[in-house]
């Protein structure tokens, strides 16, 4: 038994805090079930769910004030990857590191694990969650782009208590919706390719199924831009990639890359992925 040091309470406003950005105080609810979390959300003003917490803490350091934070850590069943019939389920609290190490995911969606080993940095991968990435849905985040390419749907508890399945591209923005997890249809073989070499300027994802391909373009748009492609698109890579780039909607303003550059690079990165798909490269 270790001797325990009992510390007196700290003064309410300690001087010389090393963190340079002040976080406003808030109430904390540690929910034990999804419904309990939902009820706490309905009963609180200005509440947010927290999973890994990296985005939220960043926003709060930038001045976001939150009345109540509802921690999801203690809710069982929200972390992990499982096969449910023909669908893979990725629990919302599954960390990026869990995904990068998942044998089950690797077996059913080759490529996913390798891509996720390069997402963010190691410390964020240890703590940051797949669900948090989907809900935060910043333009350069990878989970929305990967899931949109795979046609994944999210299981969501809405504020009124009803559950619904929603396309991942519809998940960001509703802070009162609680994501339980994401389903990926694996009834037919599917593999995932990505070119993140220009991230966070541009990322392109490509899901390849026997019946067709779906590309998503991230970073340059508020939500991933989705393009369905026929399988034979991989045979005319340059033409298809150029056509997709030319027809892409207007890009967001960026301080580090012009729209013309991003549009040009869509063609380059997509062509690379189509070539890999045609040659069955990983």
């Amino acid at each position: 038994m270790l001797a325990q040091a009992i510390h007196p309470p700290a003064p309410p406003h300690p001087i010389a805090m090393r963190s340079r950005k002040h976080i406003s105080p808030f109430n904390l609810v540690r929910a034990r079930t999804v419904d309990e979390a939902g009820q706490a959300m309905a009963a609180s003003r200005n509440a947010r769910y927290v999973a890994g917490g990296i985005d939220l803490i960043d926003l709060m350091k930038s001045g976001l004030e939150v009345g109540t934070i509802i921690s999801l850590d203690a809710i069982p069943g929200l972390r992990g990857i499982s096969l449910e019939g023909d669908r893979l389920f990725i629990g919302a609290l599954t960390t990026h590191a869990d995904i990068a190490e998942s044998e089950l995911l690797h077996r059913h969606v080759p490529g996913f694990r390798e891509i996720w080993a390069t997402v963010a940095n190691l410390r964020i991968r240890m703590v940051g969650t797949f669900g948090g990435n989907l809900i935060s849905a910043l333009p350069h985040y990878d989970a929305p782009a990967a899931c949109a390419a795979l046609g994944a749907v999210g299981r969501v508890r809405k504020a009124a208590g009803e559950y619904m399945d929603a396309p991942v591209t519809a998940l960001g923005g509703d802070k009162s919706a609680l994501l339980e997890g994401t389903f990926i249809d694996v009834h037919e073989p599917v593999r995932l390719l990505a070119d993140r070499s220009l991230h966070p300027v541009l990322s392109v994802y490509l899901a390849v199924r026997p019946t067709g391909m779906r590309a998503t373009i991230a970073c340059a748009f508020a939500r991933p831009h989705v393009i369905d492609l026929p399988l034979d698109a991989s045979l005319a890579q340059a033409d298809v990639a150029a056509e997709v780039a030319a027809s892409a909607p207007a890009m967001m303003e960026s301080s580090i890359a012009s729209a013309a550059y991003q549009r040009r690079m869509i063609a380059v990165l997509l062509k690379r992925l189509l070539k890999r798909a045609a040659e069955r490269q990983p």
Binding site: A5, S19, I57, K61, D73, I124
Partner: protein, 160 residues
Amino acid sequence: MRLNVNVVVNGRSHALEVGAHETLSDVLRERLGLTGCKVACDQSVCGACTILVDGDPVSACSTFMFKVDDSKITTVEGLAAGGVLTRVQEAFLQDGAFQCGFCTSGMILLVTALLARDPNPDDATVQQWLSSNICRCTGYNSILAAVRRASAGLRTEAAA
């Protein structure tokens, strides 16, 4: 809102009353005096605040204190036992794997976590891990050399 949080830091148990909004880095530095946990970018990018939570490298600057309730935390101050440096610390000294030293405590903890998982990592794995922490002085070569030295030392130790 005030909370009671229990943690074991560097082998010593602590019962702390903290604000729900307090970060792990602030508590380590201001309450426990463990200033080896550096804060630089303050947004989980640079890795200067890297500490170990139950053996995993974590950014203390971007972690609410309530998230680590009932966890075991290791800071750089908790590595050397009785003043005897660990193999990783010794290797950093021998290879001069630091200049200004600001990133060093985070780097040492990162490498400690890596070698605990894989005592003989290949260069690609080492580079992937080191890429998560920023050093603006060394150019990383001396740090890579220190990882190789520490890894070799651990293997020798295991074989003995």
